[in-house]
Point group: C2
Amino acid sequence: MKKRKWAVGVDVGGTNIKCGLVDAQGRVVRSLVLPTKRFGRPAAFVEGIGRAVQQLAASAGLSVAHLSGIGIGVPGLVDARRGVVHILTNVPGWHEVPLAHRLRARLHRPVFVDNDVNLVALGEWRWGAGRGATSLVCLTLGTGVGGGLVFHGALYRGASGAAGEIGHTVLDPEGPRCACGARGCLEAHVGTAAIVRMARQAGVAHRGRLTPEWLAWMARRGDRRARAVWRQLGRRLGRGLAGIVNLLNPDRVVIGGGVANAWALFAPSLRRAIRADAMEIPGRAVRVFRAQLGDQAGVIGAAVLVWNATGGRR
Amino acid sequence: MKKRKWAVGVDVGGTNIKCGLVDAQGRVVRSLVLPTKRFGRPAAFVEGIGRAVQQLAASAGLSVAHLSGIGIGVPGLVDARRGVVHILTNVPGWHEVPLAHRLRARLHRPVFVDNDVNLVALGEWRWGAGRGATSLVCLTLGTGVGGGLVFHGALYRGASGAAGEIGHTVLDPEGPRCACGARGCLEAHVGTAAIVRMARQAGVAHRGRLTPEWLAWMARRGDRRARAVWRQLGRRLGRGLAGIVNLLNPDRVVIGGGVANAWALFAPSLRRAIRADAMEIPGRAVRVFRAQLGDQAGVIGAAVLVWNATGGRR
Protein backbone atom coordinates (compact mmCIF):
# COMPACT_ATOMS: atom_id res chain seq x y z
CA MET A 1 0.00 0.00 0.00
CA LYS A 2 1.15 3.49 -0.77
CA LYS A 3 2.50 5.24 2.29
CA ARG A 4 0.26 8.08 3.41
CA LYS A 5 2.24 11.27 3.43
CA TRP A 6 -0.34 13.78 4.58
CA ALA A 7 -2.30 14.57 7.67
CA VAL A 8 -4.77 17.30 8.51
CA GLY A 9 -4.07 19.30 11.65
CA VAL A 10 -6.78 21.32 13.36
CA ASP A 11 -6.12 24.02 15.97
CA VAL A 12 -9.18 25.27 17.82
CA GLY A 13 -8.89 28.78 19.22
CA GLY A 14 -11.36 31.16 20.85
CA THR A 15 -11.85 33.10 17.59
CA ASN A 16 -10.74 30.82 14.77
CA ILE A 17 -10.43 27.16 13.98
CA LYS A 18 -7.32 26.69 11.85
CA CYS A 19 -7.17 23.65 9.58
CA GLY A 20 -4.11 22.69 7.59
CA LEU A 21 -3.01 19.94 5.23
CA VAL A 22 0.46 19.05 6.47
CA ASP A 23 3.04 17.12 4.46
CA ALA A 24 5.61 14.67 5.76
CA GLN A 25 8.18 17.45 6.18
CA GLY A 26 5.89 19.29 8.57
CA ARG A 27 4.91 21.99 6.06
CA VAL A 28 1.37 23.35 5.92
CA VAL A 29 0.69 23.03 2.17
CA ARG A 30 -2.98 24.08 2.25
CA SER A 31 -4.96 25.78 4.99
CA LEU A 32 -8.36 27.20 5.77
CA VAL A 33 -9.96 28.91 8.72
CA LEU A 34 -13.43 28.54 10.25
CA PRO A 35 -14.97 31.02 12.71
CA THR A 36 -15.23 29.40 16.15
CA LYS A 37 -18.47 31.26 16.78
CA ARG A 38 -20.27 29.43 13.99
CA PHE A 39 -18.60 26.04 14.27
CA GLY A 40 -17.91 25.94 18.00
CA ARG A 41 -20.68 23.58 19.11
CA PRO A 42 -19.91 19.86 18.85
CA ALA A 43 -22.37 18.95 16.06
CA ALA A 44 -21.47 21.95 13.89
CA PHE A 45 -17.80 21.34 14.64
CA VAL A 46 -17.87 17.74 13.42
CA GLU A 47 -19.79 18.76 10.31
CA GLY A 48 -17.56 21.78 9.62
CA ILE A 49 -14.28 19.97 10.18
CA GLY A 50 -15.52 17.02 8.15
CA ARG A 51 -16.15 19.27 5.19
CA ALA A 52 -12.91 21.23 5.71
CA VAL A 53 -10.87 18.02 5.66
CA GLN A 54 -12.48 16.97 2.38
CA GLN A 55 -11.86 20.39 0.86
CA LEU A 56 -8.24 20.50 1.97
CA ALA A 57 -7.58 17.05 0.53
CA ALA A 58 -9.37 17.86 -2.72
CA SER A 59 -7.52 21.15 -3.16
CA ALA A 60 -4.25 19.19 -3.22
CA GLY A 61 -5.60 16.57 -5.61
CA LEU A 62 -6.06 13.99 -2.85
CA SER A 63 -8.96 12.17 -1.30
CA VAL A 64 -9.55 11.76 2.42
CA ALA A 65 -8.39 8.15 2.08
CA HIS A 66 -4.90 9.48 1.30
CA LEU A 67 -4.62 11.01 4.78
CA SER A 68 -2.79 9.31 7.64
CA GLY A 69 -5.43 10.83 9.84
CA ILE A 70 -6.70 13.98 11.47
CA GLY A 71 -5.22 15.57 14.60
CA ILE A 72 -7.13 18.13 16.65
CA GLY A 73 -5.85 20.48 19.33
CA VAL A 74 -8.44 22.02 21.64
CA PRO A 75 -8.13 24.59 24.45
CA GLY A 76 -9.25 22.39 27.28
CA LEU A 77 -8.94 19.14 29.09
CA VAL A 78 -8.80 16.01 26.96
CA ASP A 79 -8.60 12.27 27.44
CA ALA A 80 -6.10 11.80 24.62
CA ARG A 81 -6.17 8.01 24.86
CA ARG A 82 -9.89 7.83 24.15
CA GLY A 83 -10.18 11.02 22.12
CA VAL A 84 -12.77 12.49 24.48
CA VAL A 85 -12.98 16.21 25.21
CA HIS A 86 -13.81 16.64 28.90
CA ILE A 87 -14.34 20.37 28.75
CA LEU A 88 -13.25 23.39 26.69
CA THR A 89 -12.12 26.74 28.05
CA ASN A 90 -14.23 29.61 26.69
CA VAL A 91 -16.14 27.45 24.19
CA PRO A 92 -19.56 26.42 25.50
CA GLY A 93 -21.40 23.15 24.85
CA TRP A 94 -18.46 20.77 25.29
CA HIS A 95 -18.78 18.25 28.04
CA GLU A 96 -17.51 14.68 27.68
CA VAL A 97 -17.69 14.78 23.88
CA PRO A 98 -16.28 11.64 22.15
CA LEU A 99 -14.82 13.82 19.41
CA ALA A 100 -12.40 11.29 17.89
CA HIS A 101 -15.15 8.70 17.62
CA ARG A 102 -17.65 11.09 16.02
CA LEU A 103 -15.25 12.50 13.47
CA ARG A 104 -13.92 9.05 12.62
CA ALA A 105 -17.47 7.93 11.91
CA ARG A 106 -17.77 10.87 9.51
CA LEU A 107 -14.40 10.58 7.73
CA HIS A 108 -13.37 6.92 8.16
CA ARG A 109 -9.82 7.93 9.02
CA PRO A 110 -8.01 7.82 12.40
CA VAL A 111 -8.66 10.88 14.55
CA PHE A 112 -6.59 12.03 17.54
CA VAL A 113 -7.35 14.79 20.01
CA ASP A 114 -5.15 16.57 22.54
CA ASN A 115 -4.76 19.83 24.38
CA ASP A 116 -3.74 22.68 22.05
CA VAL A 117 -0.60 23.72 23.97
CA ASN A 118 0.50 20.09 24.14
CA LEU A 119 0.37 20.05 20.34
CA VAL A 120 2.36 23.28 20.08
CA ALA A 121 5.01 21.54 22.18
CA LEU A 122 4.89 18.42 20.00
CA GLY A 123 5.10 20.49 16.81
CA GLU A 124 8.07 22.49 18.08
CA TRP A 125 9.76 19.29 19.21
CA ARG A 126 9.41 17.64 15.80
CA TRP A 127 9.85 20.53 13.37
CA GLY A 128 10.65 23.65 15.35
CA ALA A 129 12.98 25.00 18.03
CA GLY A 130 12.75 21.79 20.05
CA ARG A 131 14.21 19.47 17.40
CA GLY A 132 16.55 16.87 18.84
CA ALA A 133 15.64 17.60 22.48
CA THR A 134 15.22 14.59 24.74
CA SER A 135 13.42 16.61 27.41
CA LEU A 136 11.53 19.62 26.13
CA VAL A 137 9.67 22.19 28.19
CA CYS A 138 7.51 24.35 25.95
CA LEU A 139 5.84 27.51 27.16
CA THR A 140 3.30 29.83 25.53
CA LEU A 141 3.17 33.41 26.78
CA GLY A 142 0.00 35.44 26.40
CA THR A 143 -3.09 36.27 28.41
CA GLY A 144 -2.62 32.82 29.88
CA VAL A 145 0.67 31.01 30.29
CA GLY A 146 0.39 27.50 28.90
CA GLY A 147 2.85 24.67 28.70
CA GLY A 148 3.59 21.28 27.28
CA LEU A 149 6.20 18.64 28.09
CA VAL A 150 7.77 16.30 25.53
CA PHE A 151 9.97 13.60 27.04
CA HIS A 152 11.82 11.18 24.75
CA GLY A 153 9.69 12.16 21.79
CA ALA A 154 6.32 11.63 23.40
CA LEU A 155 3.96 14.02 25.12
CA TYR A 156 3.94 13.72 28.88
CA ARG A 157 0.29 14.10 29.85
CA GLY A 158 0.24 13.11 33.53
CA ALA A 159 -2.40 11.08 35.30
CA SER A 160 -5.47 12.87 33.92
CA GLY A 161 -4.18 14.65 30.83
CA ALA A 162 -3.71 17.94 32.64
CA ALA A 163 0.10 18.02 32.90
CA GLY A 164 2.16 20.93 31.64
CA GLU A 165 0.44 23.77 33.50
CA ILE A 166 3.68 25.71 33.82
CA GLY A 167 1.63 28.88 34.24
CA HIS A 168 0.39 27.51 37.52
CA THR A 169 3.65 26.58 39.13
CA VAL A 170 4.06 28.82 42.14
CA LEU A 171 6.62 31.59 41.98
CA ASP A 172 5.66 33.39 45.18
CA PRO A 173 2.95 32.12 47.54
CA GLU A 174 2.40 35.64 48.90
CA GLY A 175 2.21 37.07 45.38
CA PRO A 176 -0.74 38.32 43.34
CA ARG A 177 -3.93 36.24 43.17
CA CYS A 178 -4.11 34.11 40.01
CA ALA A 179 -7.16 33.35 37.86
CA CYS A 180 -6.84 29.72 39.02
CA GLY A 181 -7.54 30.72 42.61
CA ALA A 182 -4.05 30.23 44.04
CA ARG A 183 -1.54 32.96 44.78
CA GLY A 184 1.62 33.91 43.01
CA CYS A 185 1.42 31.55 40.03
CA LEU A 186 3.86 32.16 37.20
CA GLU A 187 0.89 33.27 35.05
CA ALA A 188 0.02 35.98 37.58
CA HIS A 189 3.63 37.19 37.32
CA VAL A 190 4.30 37.07 33.57
CA GLY A 191 0.90 36.89 31.84
CA THR A 192 -0.33 39.82 29.75
CA ALA A 193 -2.12 41.42 32.72
CA ALA A 194 1.06 41.32 34.78
CA ILE A 195 3.08 42.86 31.94
CA VAL A 196 0.59 45.71 31.61
CA ARG A 197 0.67 46.21 35.39
CA MET A 198 4.48 46.35 35.37
CA ALA A 199 4.39 48.86 32.51
CA ARG A 200 1.91 51.04 34.37
CA GLN A 201 3.97 50.94 37.55
CA ALA A 202 7.06 51.86 35.55
CA GLY A 203 5.19 54.86 34.15
CA VAL A 204 5.53 53.89 30.48
CA ALA A 205 3.93 56.63 28.35
CA HIS A 206 0.93 55.58 26.26
CA ARG A 207 -2.13 56.84 24.45
CA GLY A 208 -5.13 54.54 24.45
CA ARG A 209 -4.74 51.02 25.78
CA LEU A 210 -1.43 49.91 27.24
CA THR A 211 -0.68 46.49 25.68
CA PRO A 212 2.37 44.23 25.37
CA GLU A 213 2.49 45.18 21.67
CA TRP A 214 2.67 48.87 22.55
CA LEU A 215 5.24 48.17 25.22
CA ALA A 216 7.40 46.29 22.71
CA TRP A 217 7.07 49.11 20.19
CA MET A 218 8.13 51.67 22.80
CA ALA A 219 11.06 49.50 23.86
CA ARG A 220 12.24 49.10 20.26
CA ARG A 221 12.08 52.88 19.86
CA GLY A 222 14.52 53.07 22.78
CA ASP A 223 12.18 54.02 25.64
CA ARG A 224 14.19 53.19 28.75
CA ARG A 225 11.23 52.49 30.97
CA ALA A 226 9.72 50.12 28.46
CA ARG A 227 13.05 48.34 28.04
CA ALA A 228 13.35 47.96 31.83
CA VAL A 229 9.90 46.34 31.98
CA TRP A 230 10.93 43.69 29.45
CA ARG A 231 14.11 43.01 31.40
CA GLN A 232 12.01 42.66 34.56
CA LEU A 233 9.74 40.21 32.72
CA GLY A 234 12.76 38.16 31.65
CA ARG A 235 14.05 38.02 35.23
CA ARG A 236 10.70 36.90 36.61
CA LEU A 237 10.26 34.26 33.95
CA GLY A 238 13.83 33.06 34.44
CA ARG A 239 13.37 32.72 38.16
CA GLY A 240 10.20 30.74 37.67
CA LEU A 241 11.84 28.52 35.07
CA ALA A 242 14.94 27.90 37.22
CA GLY A 243 12.93 25.72 39.61
CA ILE A 244 11.43 23.79 36.69
CA VAL A 245 14.89 23.36 35.20
CA ASN A 246 16.07 21.89 38.53
CA LEU A 247 13.06 19.58 38.70
CA LEU A 248 12.99 18.31 35.12
CA ASN A 249 16.57 18.85 33.90
CA PRO A 250 15.38 19.57 30.34
CA ASP A 251 17.88 20.08 27.54
CA ARG A 252 15.59 22.59 25.85
CA VAL A 253 13.09 25.25 26.84
CA VAL A 254 11.08 26.71 23.95
CA ILE A 255 8.96 29.81 24.40
CA GLY A 256 6.12 30.79 22.07
CA GLY A 257 2.83 32.68 22.23
CA GLY A 258 2.09 36.28 21.30
CA VAL A 259 4.37 37.81 23.92
CA ALA A 260 7.34 35.91 22.47
CA ASN A 261 7.24 38.44 19.62
CA ALA A 262 9.22 40.63 22.04
CA TRP A 263 11.83 37.87 22.37
CA ALA A 264 14.93 40.02 21.83
CA LEU A 265 13.73 42.40 24.54
CA PHE A 266 13.52 39.85 27.34
CA ALA A 267 15.61 36.82 26.28
CA PRO A 268 18.99 38.07 27.61
CA SER A 269 17.68 38.73 31.13
CA LEU A 270 15.67 35.50 31.01
CA ARG A 271 18.76 33.45 30.19
CA ARG A 272 20.82 35.28 32.83
CA ALA A 273 18.21 34.60 35.51
CA ILE A 274 18.08 30.88 34.70
CA ARG A 275 21.88 30.65 34.82
CA ALA A 276 21.96 32.54 38.12
CA ASP A 277 19.14 30.64 39.85
CA ALA A 278 19.25 27.09 38.51
CA MET A 279 21.67 24.52 39.92
CA GLU A 280 24.92 24.12 38.06
CA ILE A 281 24.36 20.84 36.20
CA PRO A 282 20.78 21.38 34.99
CA GLY A 283 21.53 25.08 34.42
CA ARG A 284 24.35 24.17 32.05
CA ALA A 285 22.34 21.44 30.32
CA VAL A 286 19.47 23.65 29.19
CA ARG A 287 19.22 25.87 26.14
CA VAL A 288 16.41 28.41 25.83
CA PHE A 289 15.00 29.30 22.42
CA ARG A 290 12.12 31.17 20.90
CA ALA A 291 9.51 28.98 19.24
CA GLN A 292 9.95 28.71 15.47
CA LEU A 293 6.62 27.60 14.07
CA GLY A 294 4.66 30.72 14.99
CA ASP A 295 0.89 30.42 14.74
CA GLN A 296 1.18 27.26 12.65
CA ALA A 297 2.66 25.32 15.59
CA GLY A 298 -0.70 23.96 16.73
CA VAL A 299 -1.71 22.73 13.25
CA ILE A 300 1.69 21.15 12.63
CA GLY A 301 1.73 19.57 16.10
CA ALA A 302 -1.70 18.08 15.46
CA ALA A 303 -0.29 16.41 12.35
CA VAL A 304 2.71 15.12 14.34
CA LEU A 305 0.25 13.61 16.82
CA VAL A 306 -1.27 11.64 13.94
CA TRP A 307 2.07 10.39 12.68
CA ASN A 308 3.33 9.48 16.15
CA ALA A 309 0.22 7.42 16.71
CA THR A 310 -0.11 5.80 13.29
CA GLY A 311 3.29 5.47 11.73
CA GLY A 312 5.93 5.69 14.38
CA ARG A 313 7.78 8.91 14.92
CA ARG A 314 8.48 10.46 11.58
CA MET B 1 17.93 -21.41 31.71
CA LYS B 2 16.72 -21.05 35.24
CA LYS B 3 15.21 -17.65 35.86
CA ARG B 4 17.30 -15.55 38.21
CA LYS B 5 15.20 -14.51 41.13
CA TRP B 6 17.65 -12.46 43.17
CA ALA B 7 19.47 -9.19 42.89
CA VAL B 8 21.80 -7.35 45.24
CA GLY B 9 20.90 -3.76 46.00
CA VAL B 10 23.49 -1.33 47.39
CA ASP B 11 22.62 2.02 48.97
CA VAL B 12 25.57 4.32 49.60
CA GLY B 13 25.09 6.84 52.39
CA GLY B 14 27.40 9.31 54.11
CA THR B 15 27.90 6.95 57.07
CA ASN B 16 26.98 3.46 55.90
CA ILE B 17 26.86 1.43 52.73
CA LYS B 18 23.85 -0.87 52.94
CA CYS B 19 23.90 -4.05 50.89
CA GLY B 20 20.93 -6.37 50.60
CA LEU B 21 20.03 -9.58 48.80
CA VAL B 22 16.55 -8.89 47.42
CA ASP B 23 14.12 -11.56 46.24
CA ALA B 24 11.61 -11.33 43.43
CA GLN B 25 8.91 -10.08 45.81
CA GLY B 26 11.04 -7.10 46.77
CA ARG B 27 12.00 -8.45 50.20
CA VAL B 28 15.48 -7.96 51.61
CA VAL B 29 16.29 -11.53 52.65
CA ARG B 30 19.93 -10.94 53.71
CA SER B 31 21.74 -7.72 54.41
CA LEU B 32 25.05 -6.32 55.57
CA VAL B 33 26.48 -2.90 56.20
CA LEU B 34 29.91 -1.43 55.41
CA PRO B 35 31.25 1.80 56.92
CA THR B 36 31.48 4.46 54.22
CA LYS B 37 34.61 5.84 55.82
CA ARG B 38 36.56 2.67 55.14
CA PHE B 39 35.04 1.67 51.81
CA GLY B 40 34.24 5.10 50.43
CA ARG B 41 37.06 5.45 47.92
CA PRO B 42 36.47 3.89 44.49
CA ALA B 43 39.04 1.07 44.67
CA ALA B 44 38.10 0.04 48.21
CA PHE B 45 34.44 0.37 47.28
CA VAL B 46 34.69 -2.02 44.32
CA GLU B 47 36.67 -4.49 46.42
CA GLY B 48 34.33 -4.19 49.44
CA ILE B 49 31.12 -4.43 47.44
CA GLY B 50 32.54 -7.32 45.41
CA ARG B 51 33.16 -9.28 48.59
CA ALA B 52 29.82 -8.26 50.14
CA VAL B 53 27.94 -9.50 47.09
CA GLN B 54 29.69 -12.86 47.28
CA GLN B 55 28.97 -13.13 51.01
CA LEU B 56 25.32 -12.22 50.61
CA ALA B 57 24.86 -14.79 47.85
CA ALA B 58 26.70 -17.49 49.80
CA SER B 59 24.72 -16.82 52.98
CA ALA B 60 21.55 -17.73 51.08
CA GLY B 61 23.11 -20.81 49.49
CA LEU B 62 23.58 -19.08 46.13
CA SER B 63 26.51 -18.14 43.98
CA VAL B 64 27.00 -14.76 42.31
CA ALA B 65 26.01 -16.40 39.02
CA HIS B 66 22.48 -16.80 40.41
CA LEU B 67 22.03 -13.04 40.63
CA SER B 68 20.18 -11.02 38.00
CA GLY B 69 22.68 -8.32 38.73
CA ILE B 70 23.79 -5.64 41.15
CA GLY B 71 22.12 -2.23 41.52
CA ILE B 72 23.85 0.67 43.26
CA GLY B 73 22.40 3.94 44.49
CA VAL B 74 24.84 6.74 45.20
CA PRO B 75 24.33 10.23 46.62
CA GLY B 76 25.46 12.17 43.61
CA LEU B 77 25.26 12.72 39.92
CA VAL B 78 25.32 9.65 37.73
CA ASP B 79 25.26 8.78 34.05
CA ALA B 80 22.87 5.88 34.51
CA ARG B 81 23.08 4.79 30.88
CA ARG B 82 26.83 4.22 31.07
CA GLY B 83 27.05 3.45 34.78
CA VAL B 84 29.50 6.27 35.40
CA VAL B 85 29.53 8.25 38.65
CA HIS B 86 30.22 11.90 37.79
CA ILE B 87 30.60 13.06 41.36
CA LEU B 88 29.44 12.15 44.86
CA THR B 89 28.12 14.52 47.50
CA ASN B 90 30.16 14.35 50.73
CA VAL B 91 32.21 11.35 49.61
CA PRO B 92 35.63 12.40 48.29
CA GLY B 93 37.62 10.71 45.52
CA TRP B 94 34.80 10.15 43.05
CA HIS B 95 35.13 11.86 39.73
CA GLU B 96 34.02 10.23 36.49
CA VAL B 97 34.34 6.71 37.91
CA PRO B 98 33.11 3.95 35.53
CA LEU B 99 31.64 2.08 38.48
CA ALA B 100 29.39 -0.32 36.58
CA HIS B 101 32.24 -1.35 34.32
CA ARG B 102 34.67 -1.92 37.19
CA LEU B 103 32.30 -3.92 39.33
CA ARG B 104 31.13 -5.97 36.36
CA ALA B 105 34.75 -6.87 35.64
CA ARG B 106 35.00 -8.06 39.24
CA LEU B 107 31.70 -9.99 39.50
CA HIS B 108 30.84 -10.91 35.90
CA ARG B 109 27.22 -9.92 36.42
CA PRO B 110 25.30 -6.87 35.10
CA VAL B 111 25.76 -3.75 37.25
CA PHE B 112 23.56 -0.66 37.20
CA VAL B 113 24.11 2.65 38.96
CA ASP B 114 21.77 5.54 39.68
CA ASN B 115 21.18 8.38 42.09
CA ASP B 116 20.10 7.14 45.54
CA VAL B 117 16.88 9.15 45.76
CA ASN B 118 15.92 8.00 42.26
CA LEU B 119 16.17 4.45 43.55
CA VAL B 120 14.05 5.23 46.60
CA ALA B 121 11.41 6.48 44.16
CA LEU B 122 11.74 3.36 42.01
CA GLY B 123 11.52 1.06 45.05
CA GLU B 124 8.43 2.82 46.39
CA TRP B 125 6.85 2.70 42.95
CA ARG B 126 7.38 -1.05 42.60
CA TRP B 127 6.90 -2.35 46.14
CA GLY B 128 5.89 0.55 48.38
CA ALA B 129 3.44 3.42 48.61
CA GLY B 130 3.75 4.20 44.91
CA ARG B 131 2.46 0.87 43.63
CA GLY B 132 0.19 1.23 40.61
CA ALA B 133 0.95 4.91 40.06
CA THR B 134 1.43 6.01 36.45
CA SER B 135 3.07 9.30 37.48
CA LEU B 136 4.88 9.22 40.79
CA VAL B 137 6.56 12.12 42.53
CA CYS B 138 8.70 10.87 45.41
CA LEU B 139 10.19 13.17 48.01
CA THR B 140 12.67 12.56 50.83
CA LEU B 141 12.60 14.97 53.73
CA GLY B 142 15.69 15.45 55.88
CA THR B 143 18.69 17.76 56.05
CA GLY B 144 18.33 17.91 52.30
CA VAL B 145 15.10 17.54 50.36
CA GLY B 146 15.58 15.03 47.55
CA GLY B 147 13.26 13.76 44.91
CA GLY B 148 12.70 11.21 42.18
CA LEU B 149 10.20 10.94 39.36
CA VAL B 150 8.79 7.67 38.00
CA PHE B 151 6.66 8.05 34.89
CA HIS B 152 4.98 4.99 33.36
CA GLY B 153 7.15 2.64 35.38
CA ALA B 154 10.49 4.11 34.41
CA LEU B 155 12.70 6.66 36.13
CA TYR B 156 12.62 10.07 34.54
CA ARG B 157 16.22 11.28 34.66
CA GLY B 158 16.20 14.38 32.47
CA ALA B 159 18.87 15.44 30.00
CA SER B 160 21.88 14.92 32.26
CA GLY B 161 20.62 12.57 34.97
CA ALA B 162 19.97 15.41 37.41
CA ALA B 163 16.16 15.51 37.27
CA GLY B 164 14.02 15.25 40.38
CA GLU B 165 15.55 18.04 42.44
CA ILE B 166 12.23 18.87 44.06
CA GLY B 167 14.12 20.46 46.95
CA HIS B 168 15.33 23.11 44.55
CA THR B 169 12.07 24.15 43.03
CA VAL B 170 11.48 27.73 44.08
CA LEU B 171 8.81 28.44 46.65
CA ASP B 172 9.59 32.10 47.26
CA PRO B 173 12.28 33.98 45.30
CA GLU B 174 12.66 36.50 48.14
CA GLY B 175 12.89 33.70 50.72
CA PRO B 176 15.86 32.35 52.69
CA ARG B 177 19.13 31.60 50.90
CA CYS B 178 19.48 27.91 50.01
CA ALA B 179 22.62 25.77 50.12
CA CYS B 180 22.41 25.57 46.31
CA GLY B 181 22.97 29.31 46.02
CA ALA B 182 19.47 30.34 44.97
CA ARG B 183 16.83 31.88 47.20
CA GLY B 184 13.66 30.40 48.62
CA CYS B 185 14.06 26.82 47.44
CA LEU B 186 11.66 24.27 48.93
CA GLU B 187 14.65 22.77 50.80
CA ALA B 188 15.33 26.12 52.48
CA HIS B 189 11.68 26.13 53.61
CA VAL B 190 11.13 22.56 54.76
CA GLY B 191 14.58 21.01 55.31
CA THR B 192 15.74 20.12 58.83
CA ALA B 193 17.39 23.52 59.35
CA ALA B 194 14.14 25.29 58.43
CA ILE B 195 12.15 23.09 60.82
CA VAL B 196 14.52 23.87 63.67
CA ARG B 197 14.30 27.58 62.83
CA MET B 198 10.49 27.45 62.84
CA ALA B 199 10.55 25.66 66.20
CA ARG B 200 12.88 28.24 67.67
CA GLN B 201 10.74 31.12 66.40
CA ALA B 202 7.67 29.44 67.87
CA GLY B 203 9.46 29.23 71.23
CA VAL B 204 9.26 25.46 71.58
CA ALA B 205 10.81 24.48 74.92
CA HIS B 206 13.92 22.30 74.76
CA ARG B 207 16.95 21.17 76.66
CA GLY B 208 20.06 20.50 74.63
CA ARG B 209 19.77 20.48 70.85
CA LEU B 210 16.47 21.32 69.20
CA THR B 211 15.92 18.65 66.52
CA PRO B 212 12.98 17.45 64.42
CA GLU B 213 12.92 14.30 66.59
CA TRP B 214 12.57 16.39 69.74
CA LEU B 215 9.95 18.54 68.08
CA ALA B 216 7.95 15.45 67.11
CA TRP B 217 8.24 14.08 70.65
CA MET B 218 6.98 17.35 72.10
CA ALA B 219 4.13 17.48 69.61
CA ARG B 220 3.09 13.92 70.46
CA ARG B 221 3.08 14.88 74.14
CA GLY B 222 0.56 17.56 73.23
CA ASP B 223 2.75 20.67 73.20
CA ARG B 224 0.70 23.22 71.27
CA ARG B 225 3.62 25.20 69.93
CA ALA B 226 5.29 22.07 68.62
CA ARG B 227 2.05 20.92 67.00
CA ALA B 228 1.66 24.30 65.32
CA VAL B 229 5.17 24.04 63.87
CA TRP B 230 4.34 20.72 62.22
CA ARG B 231 1.14 22.15 60.80
CA GLN B 232 3.16 25.08 59.43
CA LEU B 233 5.58 22.62 57.84
CA GLY B 234 2.68 20.77 56.21
CA ARG B 235 1.30 24.00 54.80
CA ARG B 236 4.65 25.05 53.37
CA LEU B 237 5.27 21.68 51.83
CA GLY B 238 1.73 21.55 50.42
CA ARG B 239 2.11 24.96 48.83
CA GLY B 240 5.37 23.94 47.25
CA LEU B 241 3.92 20.67 46.01
CA ALA B 242 0.78 22.33 44.58
CA GLY B 243 2.81 23.89 41.79
CA ILE B 244 4.48 20.56 41.04
CA VAL B 245 1.08 18.87 41.03
CA ASN B 246 -0.13 21.43 38.48
CA LEU B 247 2.97 20.92 36.34
CA LEU B 248 3.19 17.13 36.38
CA ASN B 249 -0.37 16.00 37.20
CA PRO B 250 0.90 12.97 39.16
CA ASP B 251 -1.54 10.42 40.55
CA ARG B 252 0.69 9.81 43.55
CA VAL B 253 3.07 11.77 45.77
CA VAL B 254 5.09 9.65 48.21
CA ILE B 255 7.07 11.24 51.03
CA GLY B 256 9.92 9.53 52.84
CA GLY B 257 13.13 10.45 54.65
CA GLY B 258 13.72 10.85 58.38
CA VAL B 259 11.32 13.76 58.84
CA ALA B 260 8.46 11.62 57.46
CA ASN B 261 8.54 9.82 60.84
CA ALA B 262 6.42 12.77 61.99
CA TRP B 263 3.91 12.00 59.20
CA ALA B 264 0.75 12.11 61.30
CA LEU B 265 1.75 15.54 62.64
CA PHE B 266 1.99 17.28 59.27
CA ALA B 267 0.06 15.14 56.75
CA PRO B 268 -3.40 16.68 57.34
CA SER B 269 -2.24 20.27 56.79
CA LEU B 270 -0.10 19.12 53.84
CA ARG B 271 -3.07 17.50 52.11
CA ARG B 272 -5.28 20.51 52.85
CA ALA B 273 -2.71 22.90 51.37
CA ILE B 274 -2.41 20.86 48.17
CA ARG B 275 -6.20 20.73 47.79
CA ALA B 276 -6.47 24.48 48.39
CA ASP B 277 -3.63 25.57 46.12
CA ALA B 278 -3.54 23.08 43.25
CA MET B 279 -5.87 23.39 40.28
CA GLU B 280 -9.05 21.37 40.44
CA ILE B 281 -8.30 18.52 38.04
CA PRO B 282 -4.71 17.72 39.07
CA GLY B 283 -5.59 18.44 42.73
CA ARG B 284 -8.30 15.80 42.61
CA ALA B 285 -6.15 13.30 40.71
CA VAL B 286 -3.33 13.13 43.26
CA ARG B 287 -3.08 11.07 46.42
CA VAL B 288 -0.36 11.77 48.98
CA PHE B 289 1.11 8.94 51.05
CA ARG B 290 3.94 8.30 53.43
CA ALA B 291 6.70 6.09 52.02
CA GLN B 292 6.38 2.46 53.07
CA LEU B 293 9.81 0.91 52.62
CA GLY B 294 11.60 2.94 55.30
CA ASP B 295 15.38 2.79 55.20
CA GLN B 296 15.30 -0.27 52.95
CA ALA B 297 13.80 1.71 50.07
CA GLY B 298 17.18 2.45 48.50
CA VAL B 299 18.35 -1.18 48.59
CA ILE B 300 15.04 -2.45 47.21
CA GLY B 301 14.96 0.25 44.53
CA ALA B 302 18.47 -0.71 43.46
CA ALA B 303 17.23 -4.28 42.93
CA VAL B 304 14.23 -2.99 40.94
CA LEU B 305 16.68 -1.08 38.74
CA VAL B 306 18.37 -4.40 37.94
CA TRP B 307 15.12 -6.16 37.10
CA ASN B 308 13.80 -3.28 35.03
CA ALA B 309 16.99 -3.34 32.99
CA THR B 310 17.50 -7.09 32.66
CA GLY B 311 14.16 -8.80 32.81
CA GLY B 312 11.47 -6.33 31.95
CA ARG B 313 9.51 -4.70 34.70
CA ARG B 314 8.77 -7.28 37.33
